[in-house]
């Protein structure tokens, strides 16, 4: 059975704005799944409906089921979901800027009463992320974007998750840093068997990393399949991968190719 199952989830903001219109998706145990889509397609909203953080933005899951590890998540508040093993790494990193990296890590351990264990976990994180260990005494707000993203991921790992919801880890990072972050994600998934649901606009990098992917557009899942199948799809190539064939721009007509699923 899958670790996370979304069945026909519908999200409404402010009681009027329907942002997600019946999304269903699955993440298997230790799976690596991407949710792709353009700006405003509803990717982040889907993640927040899973982690429960919608409540802070006056959003509400009005229909459908969110099942994690066989348990209904809709009745639990976000801290309770974290304790079940479901952690959300927010878009834009959201590190605690005035705390040091070490304090950032400790702040995420409210579920672990055992102090010796917390200490051990912090040391473990610093061996996995040596760049954070170098900056251990600086305020996290002054770390570089890549370091902050590493810190956000390390902080999420401190909660001992079964599934990480990873929102736009490549946001605002140089290409070589994107590669480094994606390597880290791959390693976490392979070594510790943590499942990952990755939301990305950078479809090229994401399809290279994951096993399966879903494509979301205007609040609906419009396509799903293995990463290879999606990467080969001409519509996806056109809309998200920047076109595979060479285009003669003199011959291009002045309308854009219609996305076929909108018909």
């Amino acid at each position: 059975m899958s670790l996370l199952v979304l069945n026909n989830v519908e999200v409404v903001y402010d009681s009027v704005f329907l942002a997600v219109k019946g999304v269903s998706l699955e993440v298997p145990k230790a799976g690596l799944v991407a949710l792709l889509g353009a700006n405003g397609a509803g990717k982040s909203t889907v993640l927040k409906s899973i982690s429960g953080l919608l409540a802070a933005e006056r959003g509400l899951v009005t229909r459908g089921q969110v099942t994690f590890d066989g348990e209904d998540m809709r009745v639990l508040d976000p801290p309770a979901r974290v304790r079940r093993g479901l952690v959300h790494v927010l878009e834009g990193r959201h590190v605690f800027g005035h705390l040091t990296p070490e304090e950032n890590l400790i702040a995420a351990t409210s579920m672990h009463p055992d102090r010796a264990k917390v200490k051990r976990m912090v040391e473990e994180m610093f061996t996995h992320f040596p760049r954070l260990a170098e900056r251990a005494k600086a305020q996290a707000g002054y770390l570089s974007g890549g370091e902050q993203q590493m810190l956000a991921i390390a902080r999420a790992l401190m909660t001992e998750p079964k599934l990480i919801l990873l929102d736009e880890p490549s946001l605002g990072l140089a290409p070589f840093l994107v590669d480094e972050i994606f390597d880290i994600v791959r390693r976490i998934n392979a070594v510790s068997g943590v499942a990952i649901l990755l939301v990305e606009q950078n479809a090229v990098a994401a399809l290279d990393l994951v096993e399966t992917a879903y494509l979301i557009d205007q609040g609906r899942i419009v396509m799903s399949g293995t990463a290879a199948a999606l990467a080969a799809n001409p519509d996806i190539q056109d809309a998200y991968l920047g076109g595979a064939q060479k285009v003669d721009y003199h011959a291009v007509k002045h309308y854009r190719r219609r996305k076929r699923w909108l018909a």
Binding site: R58, V82, H98, A108, T159
Partner: protein
């Protein structure tokens, strides 16, 4: 000007400043966790003093019982204020939340004297009133003991913010959404901050009530506390300690040295002038953290 007079004014001023700092530390505690300046802090101090007075004078409990009972009641009152009033304001503009705390302040200032009567109540906590002579200088025993108790409590709250629970409260003040996403129970952290802050306010209310009596004017401690918190930096407890001492000193020296020249009343001007100057010259205060902006 005699040296002994200045020394005497300074020493007493420092102790008074520490007693102000205790009220300011409560302000900082709430600001550090929820980012709100609680303008009802003075009224909470007044309420605490009234509660302790009511338990001892009305119900006849001895003082050693009335004080801990009062602290417990006020911890509960702090939790309730957060739960009933502040939690509804989540997601609302900051100005509305601040207006709400002003509303609580005005309400308490009207209701409590209304219930207990407006006459000044005598609150005797057993601190002897006779002055203490060290060499030539005369020290007010009540403010000395009050100052030392305040110092101990403020030091305790510094230690608290370095503990694990305190660390999580600092995380909440940095980013509530992120705190929530990594499993910190944000609402509980904010509620505890309100409870502790009300307890600190009560201690200050008892100390001040025992020196000047209990009536509505205890809520004016807010002005001094605001001056201290702004000068020290709204989110720095060590800043509160230093700023408290500075403001106590400035007040005491102004009263002793300027009052004879201008005919009195400089004491209350000092705090206002310090608020004004700090905001103009150093809006973050002495130790306040600056907004980190990466470029």
């Amino acid at each position: 000007m005699e040296f002994a007079l200045i020394l005497e004014l300074s020493v007493n001023g420092i102790f008074i400043g520490l007693m102000y700092a205790l009220v300011a530390a409560g302000l900082v505690l709430i600001y550090k966790t929820s980012g709100i300046a609680n303008l009802a802090q003075g009224a909470l101090a007044m309420m605490g003093a009234y509660v302790v007075w009511a338990i001892s004078a009305q119900l006849g409990a001895p003082m050693w019982l009335a004080i801990p009972l009062g602290l417990i009641v006020m911890f509960g009152a702090g939790l309730l204020t957060e739960r009933l009033a502040l939690r509804r304001m989540i997601g609302q503009p900051v100005i509305m939340v601040i207006m709400l705390t002003i509303g609580i302040e005005i309400m308490l200032r009207g209701v409590l004297p209304g219930i207990f009567g407006a006459a000044v109540k005598k609150l005797d906590v057993g601190i002897p009133n006779d002055p203490l002579f060290i060499g030539d200088i005369l020290i007010n025993r009540a403010t000395m003991i009050g100052g030392l108790i305040s110092l101990a409590l403020v030091a305790l709250s510094i230690a608290f913010f370095n503990s694990r629970l305190g660390l999580m409260m600092r995380a909440v003040s940095d980013d509530q959404m992120a705190s929530w996403s990594v499993g910190i129970r944000v609402d509980r952290a904010v509620a505890i901050a309100w409870g502790l802050s009300a307890t600190m306010a009560t201690t200050a209310g008892i100390l001040w009530g025992s020196t000047q009596g209990v009536d509505w004017s205890l809520s004016l401690l807010l002005i001094k506390a605001l001056a201290i918190a702004i000068l020290g930096g709204l989110d720095s407890i060590p800043g509160v300690l230093l700023a408290g001492v500075l403001i106590g000193l400035a007040e005491s020296l102004a009263t002793g040295l300027l009052d004879p020249l201008v005919g009195g009343g400089t004491r209350d001007v000092v705090a206002s002038v310090i608020i004004l100057l700090t905001l103009l010259l150093r809006p973050h205060g002495l130790f306040g953290r600056e907004h980190i902006e990466r470029v």
